[in-house]
């Protein structure tokens, strides 16, 4: 068993400034964008072995290894490391906190250079395309112009999809896991209720709950954010995994207490998820990221998709092989079910792209993308190995 990538640290770079602002899809400009990122493995001399990991709603740049003093590794440590599917003996793996995030990359909690105060809800609305622009700027600054692959689950998969469409030839292999190209009404409904929980919290204060530098500490909308996380968490697990994990077991008691306190184990689990989330996440980022997902709809212009896929296939940009797709879903995922993944595969194939689509059997619901399910890891590893073969052959 490999020890993984070992000690790592999150670094950061300023990628956009007043002279080179980031122009968003909405037309808004950000004149200071700093990005937190981690890398694992070494970039080869040809700059051809880079793989970008796009994280999901509540993720961050710390995908693998251990920070000093931490007892738990990064959120995707089981797939990133020596001998693992994203094999850091052979690949240069990059992960960055997304734009609008709260773990080191510029977001609604950052200071607005124009006012010197935190943006709050004055931070501009974002699109998946904007998140991708920042990833690309980071890669350029690291000396990477073409990716062996980009991979991501959920919102991460959306980033990979948008990236591959907008920049033909820039990604050799696009691995899109447990994602959606178009949230359903039910998906949007869950997000909407989570946002309402945050925005109705009296401590939300219109998003201006950050302690100003000189001002007193303010309460944060912890109640609302915890509720949002609890709601989200139910949709991340399958009914079956909840049944296996908790059933109807009563928490630290032989007999039910018949009251409104936490009593069933599943209640205690959710309460813990909510509480630990508020300690590490920002409510405004939650609002921005869920809205990014609600509005995501990359296949509305079929002519654009077809043109971009054709450009990639013709070797547009940097590589000879265009973009190959691996689209994965999990059979117990009811947040972004296999129907969502199949739609992605169908649209891409319809535009002429080479797509491997597979539904993996796994019990963990939407969260399955975070688990080391053998068939899943074999499929991802095999896909990346085949890309490496092409890179050598080319």
């Amino acid at each position: 068993m490999s020890d993984g990538v070992g000690r790592v640290e999150t670094r950061s770079r300023v990628l956009f400034d007043e002279e080179r602002p980031l122009v968003l899809e909405s037309g808004a400009r950000l004149t200071h964008v700093e990005v937190a990122y981690e890398t694992y493995g070494e970039l080869d001399a040809a700059g051809a072995n880079a793989v970008f990991v796009c994280h999901a709603l509540s993720g961050d740049a710390h995908a693998a290894g251990y920070h000093d003093g931490d007892r738990r590794p990064g959120w995707w440590d089981n797939i990133v490391g020596p001998g693992r599917p994203l094999d850091t003996d052979r690949l240069f793996v990059v992960c960055a906190n997304v734009l609008g995030g709260c773990k080191g990359t510029t977001g609604p909690g950052s200071l607005d250079p124009a006012t010197g105060r935190p943006y709050g809800l004055r931070f501009p609305q974002l699109a998946v395309r904007d998140l991708v622009q920042v990833h690309r700027a980071l890669l350029r600054s690291l000396g990477v112009s073409r990716l062996r692959a980009a991979i991501g689950g959920s919102l991460g998969g959306m980033q990979v999809l948008q990236w591959s469409l907008d920049h033909p030839g820039e990604i050799g292999g696009a691995v899109i896991v447990a994602a959606s190209a178009r949230l359903s009404a039910q998906n949007i409904a869950f997000s909407a209720v989570a946002r309402e929980a945050i925005m109705r919290d009296p401590d939300f204060a219109g998003g201006d709950y950050y302690a100003a530098d000189a001002g007193p500490a303010r309460p944060r909308p912890d109640r609302g954010l915890a509720l949002a996380r609890m709601i989200g968490h139910i949709t991340y697990l399958s009914e079956e995994s909840m049944r296996q994990k908790f059933g109807r077991r009563i928490q630290d008691a032989v007999e039910p207490r018949y009251g409104f306190d936490v009593d069933f184990e599943v209640e205690s689990y959710l309460a813990h998820q909510g509480q630990s989330f508020v300690e590490r996440f920002d409510a405004n980022t939650y609002l921005y990221m869920t809205r990014v997902m609600d509005y995501f709809d990359p296949f509305t212009d079929p002519a654009y998709v077809q043109r971009q896929v054709a450009a990639a296939g013709a070797g547009g940009g940097a590589g000879p092989a265009g973009t190959r797709y691996l689209v994965l879903s999990f059979d117990s995922d009811w947040r972004f079910s296999t129907e969502h993944a199949r739609e992605i595969a169908t649209e891409l194939r319809g535009a002429g792209a080479p797509v491997t689509f597979r539904e993996i059997s796994a019990p963990h619901g939407h969260d399955s993308f975070l688990f080391p399910i053998p068939e899943y890891h074999r499929t991802v590893g095999g896909f990346l190995d085949a890309l490496a073969g092409e890179a050598v052959a080319s």
Copy 2:
């Protein structure tokens, strides 16, 4: 097309008092229990044509017809009326607001005779069995000792099931629709988050948000209750019905607004559901009723179930025919899926009861039990007609 039952009004009776208190399953006593109820049709001379309707979480006694000035009829008007499946030309239909409710029956918003103040969370915890005791007392006061049938959806079906088990021979036909005999971990999780939303609302004030007679008006935990309703509502609709009803359509606008205000139609719908609910419902009742459902688990003692079913089949109590069961589920219901209904049918059959089980195809999710789906109404009507035949023959 029939005009329905026409004008109706909700009446009320005091059924328990200091001399005849209601002793709950927990051992607690209520020394003043008033019940709000409605009746439709006439009780026949033999007192043999009564059907009791048990309502669900957010229902009330007003099942059919119109109150003075109302533009919309009671919540189950499509099934109760002349010529309808619960045919008021032939049946005497009774519906009562449940114990712990907020629509006229004693509940947490009622005055505690011991203190003269509203109970709030000092109201005792309830079990489904307690709700049934109050229904039975109402029927006795109306001169009914045996029911032709009892029918209910969701929490209503739970009441029918518990009633039929505890009082063999008292119900001719038990119609259990879209119910569960044992909430899953996921079911409990949704209820738990809904309760958290209420209890974390600063206006909840530990449940003491009622205006005291002499005191000033207090704000009510409307934010929390609206959130609870929104969460619940997502689980009442199927993903497919949400897709058909809303899709990704944008509310009163050609273009999305890209902000955190309500934008998609499904958001607007949920916000409306939340808002209209707080105008007609009490947050404490929501807490009590969801907890009643969480703890419901009537099949834990198989020997008891078998004994009770045998007693009913032997003509125990009042009738020669024992209790026949009709257990129905809807294929798009993911709150109480067909698995829940099948478990009820299997347990009852295992104890020797005659059970007809049917899964009805309907698109409306859990809410299907409220819709006039032809196969559903035919099945219920046919079952009741057969019971009438038996009543005549006996």
